[in-house]
């Protein structure tokens, strides 16, 4: 036991010899957790098509048009300057630009001279939607004036007005009537939300906290391979042969040291999740411990097996980061697994990250308890047994 503790202590000293290790141990995981929690898409995102709007009129009418666009279910108006809009349009970053030029006011509407403009990228399907939304918005703002104008035109076609004053009076009474008809008009469309179940269970904070925890803890655990390769390269493993320490003592000391450090790192990140992100990590402490411990064991076992295949420390550290990142991405730690095609969702069940992520989401997202995480913990334990067996059997001092 003393020897095991001595190996654990030695590995801790080596790992934290450089203060830069703290960067990977706690600082970067927190930064990534925080940024991805705010940056990844959530169900509350505004999915409407972006429409750049240039408001050069800045009148009540132009504001009303923009407000109507805000109410659209299809487009999301983004008011900007003409230069910025033109620049984005030229770079094809905006499919359309809606320009309300100076002079769009009640007078221009009454005189029929009001003209708004829409720049559209050719053959772009978004512009069809944007144009319809703009037409709806300008109709809602101007339909009573249009109706009054139309009434004046029809009246004039039957019998010309005697004077401009009579024409204006006719327009005003028509406008009043049109506004009254418009106000009395009933809602003609009703929206009923269906009962479709959302296939994607997702909370950016919970997913980011669990996913980044797995990413940043699994990479150093896979890095156990680098420890073995480094000791083998440096000849220190051979030296151990001459000491009265067994292979089991060395392996147990090295692996348990890394698992303990991983648990400390996990607890720090869980603490950040609870305190800074208000996540309910601590609701079922036993279940939490079980899933964290089995996850750490599975990752450490994989690192042990890797260490028996890899020859140099350089190879091991590169491959640890590569496997850590790829396993994390494919295991649903960065983006919800439900976004992957069904075949890939099944295929990635061979990865420990998939099970670790599901177990942690059972706890922090789905409100599960010990019984709910036992299947995932069981699979992770299975991974641990399998990879430790391969690793121990293949382990050589030279």
């Amino acid at each position: 036991m003393k020897k095991i503790l001595a190996i654990v202590w030695k590995d801790i000293i080596i790992r934290f010899a450089s203060s830069s290790e703290l960067l990977f141990f706690i600082i970067l995981p927190i930064v990534f957790t925080f940024l991805l929690a705010g940056g990844t898409p959530s169900g509350d995102d505004d999915n409407r098509i972006r429409l750049l709007v240039v408001d050069e009129a800045n009148t009540t009418i132009s504001q009303q048009i923009i407000q109507e666009l805000e109410n659209s279910t299809a487009v999301r108006p983004e008011v900007t300057t003409r230069e910025e809009a033109q620049s984005q349009f030229d770079e094809r970053r905006a499919s359309a630009v809606f320009i309300i030029p100076a002079g769009i006011d009640v007078d221009s509407l009454q005189s029929g001279s009001a003209e708004v403009e829409m720049l559209q990228q050719p053959n772009n399907i978004n512009t069809t939607v944007q144009e319809r939304a703009v037409l709806t918005a300008i109709r809602r703002v101007s339909s009573s004036i249009s109706a009054a104008q139309n009434a004046v035109n029809q009246r004039e076609a039957k019998q010309p007005f005697a004077s401009d004053a009579e024409k204006q009076a006719y327009f005003e009474s028509s406008l009043e009537l049109a506004q009254s008809i418009q106000a009395d008009a009933p809602e003609r469309v009703t929206v009923v939300e269906g009962l479709t179940e959302d296939q994607i269970e997702y909370d950016p904070r919970a997913n980011s906290s669990a996913g980044q925890l797995i990413t940043w803890v699994f990479i150093p655990l896979f890095g156990i391979s680098a420890l073995f390769a480094g000791e083998r390269q440096g000849g220190t493993l051979r030296r151990l042969l001459t000491s009265p320490s067994s292979k089991a003592t060395f392996l147990l000391g090295t692996i348990s040291g890394q698992v303990v450090m991983a648990l400390v790192q996990m607890l720090l990140l869980v603490g950040f999740g609870i305190l800074a992100m208000k996540l309910n990590w601590g609701r079922e402490p036993l279940a939490l411990f079980v899933i964290l411990f089995t996850s750490a064991l599975a990752a450490a076992a994989f690192g042990t097996t890797m260490g028996t295949f890899i020859k140099t420390e350089g190879q091991a550290s590169g491959l640890s980061i590569m496997f850590g990142m790829v396993f994390a991405l494919m295991g649903g730690c960065w983006y919800p697994l439900e976004l992957f095609p069904a075949t890939i969702q099944n295929a990635v069940k061979v990865l420990p990250t998939t099970w670790a992520m599901q177990g942690m989401l059972d706890l922090v997202l789905r409100g599960g308890g010990l019984v709910d995480v036992l299947p995932e913990a069981g699979v992770l334990l299975g991974f641990a047994v399998l990879f430790f067996s391969v690793g121990v059997l293949r382990f050589r001092y030279e």
Binding site: A74, V192, L329
Partner: protein
Amino acid sequence: MLKLLLIGIKDLKLMFRDRAALTFMLLAPFLLTIGMGFVTGRFSGRSTGLSDIPVIIVNLDKADLGNALEDLFHSDDLTDLVEPTASSDPEAARQLIDDDQASAAIIIPEGFTQSIIPAEGTMFDSNSVQPDPVQIEVYTNPSRPTGAGIIKAIVDEFVSRVEEGRTSGMTSLSQMMASGLLNPQDAQAEASNQFQNVDQTESTAITLKTNTEGSQAVEFDLLAYFAPGMALMFLMYTVSYGGRSILAERSEGTLPRLMISPTHNAQVLGGKVLGIFFMGVAQVGILILASTMFFQVKWGDALGIVVLILAAVFGATGWGMLITAFARTPSQVASTGSAVMLIFGILGGSFISLERFPPFMQTISKITPNAWGLDGFTTLALGGTLRNLTEPITALLIMGAGLFVIAVFLFNRNGLVQK
């Protein structure tokens, strides 16, 4: 110049002999690109944007306006946008939405037309019972909010057109009757005339002038963003790997040996920098080529791509040199390089589009070659050319040159390349 090239090519050859480094520099970004392709639906055809939104139309009205709305969804204008299916059973249509088979169902109830266009003889008859308002039901799929929102917007536009026509017709008729130009006997015929094409009313108060510019549609390929995103992230590892070789050569004694040869210090340092630059260009170039070969990524203007790669690698090389100048040992360069790689990866938009970050983060991201590089790659993928890359290329060149000057100053101060 020859010596410079020789040193650079020597370092490039060394990189290609280091299988572990090659695996990390090439295989890791490639695998992550594949993963991003799955996530974004690029490989399963989910990422092509808005098209063929499935919608179910239940037309129980079977009159002018109900038919006009149904025809609208089958019009040429919307043929690429929506994929309508007719149904006669509202409950079955709602069930299909609940089962996630379509984005929305439009249920046009019986009597919809009549509720807007009164039956003949009833419009100006104060004794006739006016029909109750009848509402079109848009039954939406909450798991497909964008598609459902677009269907609702199309229905809204149709209804607003009809409503404008109705208001206009009612106003004209009422006003003319009030001014005695239309008698009640003729009013019905006039009303039929007014409401005949109520669904095709054009706004007269404001004219919308559309201006379609350019001539070619460009479909944005998501991998044209994520593939260079991953390549640029791992480029930061490559440039620090190159920088590490400078310190490794010093500790192994080969750098002092180079110094005592008839080679100027600047040539040695320049050669090493050139080596890093070659490594970066080789790495990004290979990844771009591989993405083109395996995933048929549409990158856009080829000349723009080449110039952008060169500029992005130049900017990243500056960072590699700066990291090396601050570090004392090769392992310090390695750990700092890995940290910078990850930080720049997330800040530069390799994982998530920068548009999702708050403005201050978007400003901070400008210190990374990743953000400028991705900006350029996006411009090209959207159909831009080298002419549109002035800003990112200038920024990357200034970044590379500025960091190189600082690194040289630090190298001189630390006596790294002194004889």
